[in-house]
Point group: C2
Chain length 231, copies 2
Amino acid sequence: MELNQNIHVAVDAIVFGYTAGKLHVLLIKQKYGLLKNKWALVGGFVKDDESLVDAVHRELYEEAGIRVNYLEQLYTFGDALDRDPRGRVISVAYFALVNSTTLELKADTDAEDAAWFPIDAVPDELAFDHAHILRTAHQRLQSKLTYQPVGFDLLPERFLFSELEHLYTTILGKEIDRRNFRKKMLSFGIVEETNEFGDKKSGRPAKLFTFNKLKYNELVENGFLFEINFA
Amino acid sequence: MELNQNIHVAVDAIVFGYTAGKLHVLLIKQKYGLLKNKWALVGGFVKDDESLVDAVHRELYEEAGIRVNYLEQLYTFGDALDRDPRGRVISVAYFALVNSTTLELKADTDAEDAAWFPIDAVPDELAFDHAHILRTAHQRLQSKLTYQPVGFDLLPERFLFSELEHLYTTILGKEIDRRNFRKKMLSFGIVEETNEFGDKKSGRPAKLFTFNKLKYNELVENGFLFEINFA
């Protein structure tokens, strides 16, 4: 195409995980370029013959050695003309939620290191505008938690009810009425008690629960609205 | 930047208006190129030195002669490699809601014609993947209507309550329980009765209402959640 446009297209991935009762985000240490050794989100330029979402999957594998099941487009950052010191670059950002304890990180070709950081302890100076992108993703996660059952993607397949509660209070940064939360969450019929018991720090052993995704999808098709409010 | 990437960046605008009791969308007729004379969303390539959102404002003015107050980023379409016959182009799509009756359209430099189409009567074959983009925007509007008071942007400053009701039933394509709707909408305290009367087709004259945006913003800051459900 004869078009004198000098704008480049990148993708970035905000991967959230939940370990040891804390929300984490995946960061990589830049190996090359102007921002060498700075921590950044996984990301890179899109190839001419790959879709945006394929580019994200490729970068996640190349830079952190991981594969994720599901990516959701967050936002395209392209209003700040100087967000990349190398030139005009717009970034289409995607986010993913993973049960991070099961993923082994491996900094690969393009990254010096890859690591999980607790969301309240990320390095002060992230590369590019990644601190801004991360804040946007964090807010989206907080708001999605109240109207979609995304929290289950962050938990192992079987979890204690107290872990689910803790996930909500941690990510939303709010105390919840535990009895109401339990009642409401169980009333949907999408969280099921199993016959297995988990380790609890104190008291009698507690039943493990599981999220029934098939049931949830079925309910959604019939107009069900998941909603957890903390007014 | 030394980067061998041949991807171009465009923006598209989905402008919704509401006239004569129907949701409308703004389309322009292509003046140049392969898709000459096809109807399309307003849009075009981003300039190197303009932000994405500035590009949308510029195109809206150049192609349809309008200015809008508020644009919201909808989604970036860049997974289909062949969405533009001219080459690899990703499009960052924005949507706007206007009270269309007050906007005078004027096809300008880049467009052959500009017109409002009722959403259920848009031309069969829109240019590019614009039918797909329009569907995505329409779904977003429907879902936003239930959790943000966006409907008021489509109405004149003063409106009959029956017009607000009609807007909801029309855009959502659902019947509503009129008494409940009125009760709930008024209970928020963001829709106020004025002392003026509007023209009603039959019966006694009806009071005009207005949306108090300041009050709404104040409530939101205090954690208020606007919500209209039609279960």
